[in-house]
């Protein structure tokens, strides 16, 4: 009971602080007081975010994700993934998400899929290839049957090194429903 009250108090204080010191907060280190990425989800939650440390888990809907900075990657995927053709993938850079969640070089970043598939993404990948957590393919949202609603897309065409082994085939995770930073 006491804990819940304290948590609520802290959340309210944070909101007030953000409202008052909005512009100032940009100057602060982001992992010090991570702001909620998806404030007040309207629609159905598609992504669970577990921030670094003992931060509270957040739920995001697609509309909230679409409000975050977006990036396009146009690429074909390795044949082993079974998704033929070159497509334009639109989504949030995973690095942005991780940084917003207070993650960094020493964090362990794990993405989990609806079918219990899970994979750890090294921080170096985010720096080197800047993969995108895509929510649109060629401008269209993707249903669960189409391996949506979220797929982690690496720019395979831009980096031939990505096409070499099984690693990046494994890291291209679909039906993502949770991102966890530990």
């Amino acid at each position: 009971m006491l804990f819940r009250f304290l948590a609520a108090l802290r959340a309210r204080t944070d909101a007030t602080l953000v409202a008052l010191l909005g512009p100032l907060s940009l100057c602060l280190p982001l992992w010090a007081h991570p702001a909620p990425l998806c404030p007040a989800p309207q629609g159905r939650s598609v992504l669970q975010l577990q921030p670094a440390g003992d931060g509270q888990a957040q739920a995001c809907d697609l509309q909230a994700l679409e409000r975050l900075p977006a990036l396009d990657i146009t690429t074909a995927l390795p044949p082993a993934l079974g998704m033929a053709g070159t497509h334009r993938w639109t989504g949030v850079p995973l690095r942005h998400l991780v940084e917003q969640l207070g993650g960094g070089e020493r964090s362990r970043i794990v993405l989990m899929a609806l079918n219990d598939y899970a994979v750890a993404i090294p921080w170096s990948d985010l720096l080197r290839y800047n993969p995108v957590l895509a929510y649109r393919r060629d401008g269209q949202r993707m249903g669960i049957r189409d391996k949506g609603p979220l797929i982690l897309i690496y720019p395979f065409d831009a980096h031939p090194a990505l096409q070499q082994g099984q690693d990046y085939v494994n890291r291209t995770i679909w039906q993502v429903h949770a991102v966890s930073i530990r």
Partner: protein, 548 residues
């Protein structure tokens, strides 16, 4: 020494070995190429990663179905929403969807385990039906919001689907568990097959590599053998070469000795020897005798044969003959430049070291020539007076007269005869007669010019031919001669003074004189007249002017 058959045998076996080696190399190349091609094809197959894990696939299906089953129970207990069920059914459906997967999952599994594949197909149809019943529009990938409203609108439908799922799930899960075991067995078999295949491939590769190793070893052995044989052959060659060099050196020494001997022979021979190139004049050989003859201290480096010949006419004749016939035999010519000497020369045009050369042999005949000249002198001179005898006078006066006539010059003949010569002989003896003739000849000679001819025709008769002399000038000469004779102060052995006179008949050449004889006959006629007219006088032939 090898017999011919023994020589041929190694050659034939050599060819056969070479052919065998060539076949070996070709076989190795072919084998390696085939292995390489095959390996490259394998490498190409392995270039792309394949997600072909059937076990993960079937396990996922099992898990998702279990989840759907759990969710269905929760839905019935009102602990989960219809949308959750729809989402889970979608996940299950997408897990079942093998259309986009690797070839093994879709085709091989279907071929190897048709029952399992059929069961999975049936499950997919079932899930499709549940999904459409629960979500209504699950077929079309519409917005989640739209689906949500439908799902919330049909909770009863969802409840019915949940009931259906709960009813069937246990049997389905049981079948899937069996399928997991079957696929596991199938997968292990597949893995083992792949292992065996790889094993076989590596065995094939090792066979090819072993063959290559054997071939390479054979080639290296052959190379070593060849290298040894080459070494031995080169050693033998060096030995043979040394022997040959020794033999050549011995022969060269012998040759030099015989050459020196030949040189000595040629040097000491009484003949002149020269061998010189035609074009360059390079002297191949010249003996001491000829060197000395040319007035040189050492043998010259270059010498041209034509330069040796003194007389231009002879030189031309000599060289022409030599060029035309390639040889000249015993031609008499004078050789040497400042003190030419007569030689009998023989020459050959020969080839020396690819160049034309003159070979000259010469025998000194200057002594013979001097003797010959002396004999000729004896034959043309009168022994008593030293004048030309009749034959020589006639020869030379004929030539001189022809010369004058050809050039349109006048010439005059004097016929001189001592008056009463018989009396001198009778009175003072023949010796006095000879003295008179000698004195007379000397006196006449002194009165004449260098170009004039004088001869003793016989007895006390002399004849003189004066070229380029008119009758007048010749007449003066004749008078001078007559005067000189009259004043000769001769004395007999007994001391008596001896005087005598001469008569001279003179004839100048006229147009009708075609030779010396008619002119001499005219002069003779004039002499006859002078004798008849009382002697001691000069009379000119006057046939053209009889009235004078």
């Amino acid at each position: 020494m090898l017999s011919p058959s023994a020589k041929q045998q190694p050659a034939a076996s050599n060819t056969r070995t070479t052919h065998r080696l060539l076949a070996l190399v070709v076989a190795m190349a072919l084998g390696t190429s085939a292995a390489l091609w095959w390996t490259l094809r394998q490498a190409q197959d392995l270039a792309q990663p394949h997600q072909q894990n059937d076990l993960w696939y079937i396990a996922s299906v099992h898990n998702e179905l279990a989840r759907v089953s759990l969710l269905a129970r929760q839905l019935r207990a009102r602990e989960a929403s219809a949308q959750d069920l729809v989402d889970r059914l979608d996940v299950l459906y997408s897990t079942l969807d093998t259309s986009g997967r690797g070839p093994r999952v879709s085709t091989q599994l279907r071929e190897a385990l048709p029952d399992t594949a059929q069961g999975l197909d049936g499950l997919r149809t079932q899930v499709e039906r549940w999904s459409s019943q629960a979500g209504g529009s699950a077929n079309e990938p519409g917005s989640t919001a739209a689906r949500r409203t439908q799902a919330t609108a049909a909770p009863t439908q969802a409840l019915r689907v949940a009931e259906d799922i709960t009813r069937q799930s246990d049997a389905l899960l049981e079948r899937l568990r069996q399928a997991v075991a079957t696929v596991h067995l199938f997968s292990t078999q597949q893995t083992d097959q792949a292992r065996q295949q790889l094993h076989q491939r590596f065995i094939v590769l090792s066979v090819v590599l072993s063959a290559l190793l054997v071939g390479t070893t054979l080639l290296i052995a052959r190379l070593v053998q060849d290298a040894r044989a080459a070494k031995a052959a080169s050693r033998q060659l060096a030995q043979t070469n040394r022997e040959l060099e020794d033999r050549v050196a011995r022969r060269t020494r012998k040759l030099e000795e015989s050459r020196a001997l030949l040189g000595f022979i040629l040097d000491t021979s009484p003949s002149d020897v020269l061998l010189a190139e035609v074009e360059s004049g390079r002297v191949h050989f010249i003996n001491h005798r000829l060197t000395e003859r040319l007035g040189l201290k050492t043998a010259p480096q270059t010498l041209f044969l034509p330069d040796l010949l003194h007389d231009p006419d002879t030189r031309q004749r000599f060289m022409q003959t030599l060029d035309q016939y390639g040889q000249v035999d015993a031609m008499e010519a004078q050789i040497g430049t400042h003190a030419p000497r007569w030689s009998s020369l023989s020459a050959r045009l020969i080839d020396v070291e690819g160049q034309l050369a003159h070979l000259l042999w010469g025998f000194d005949i200057s002594t013979h020539k001097a003797l010959e000249a002396q004999l000729r002198e004896l034959a043309t001179r009168d022994a008593l007076s030293g004048l030309l005898n009749r034959r020589a006078f006639m020869e030379r006066s004929t030539a001189l007269f022809d010369h004058c006539r050809r050039h349109g010059q006048p010439c005059t003949v004097l016929m001189i005869d001592i008056d009463h010569f018989k009396r001198i002989n009778d009175r003072y003896g023949h010796q006095m007669g000879d003295t008179a003739i000698r004195a007379c000849a000397e006196a006449i000679g002194q009165a004449l010019r260098e170009a004039d001819l004088l001869g003793r025709l016989g007895g006390e008769e002399f004849a003189a031919l004066l070229p380029h002399a008119s009758a007048d000038s010749a007449g003066q000469v004749a008078e001078r001669i007559r005067g000189a004779i009259a004043q000769l102060g001769l004395a007999s052995p007994a001391g008596h003074p001896v005087t005598f006179t001469i008569s001279i008949g003179m004839a100048a050449s006229e147009r009708h004189h075609t030779g010396i004889e008619p002119l001499m006959a005219d002069a003779d006629a004039a002499l006859y007249r002078a004798k008849a007219a009382g002697r001691n006088r000069v009379l000119t032939h006057e046939a053209a002017h009889p009235e004078l």
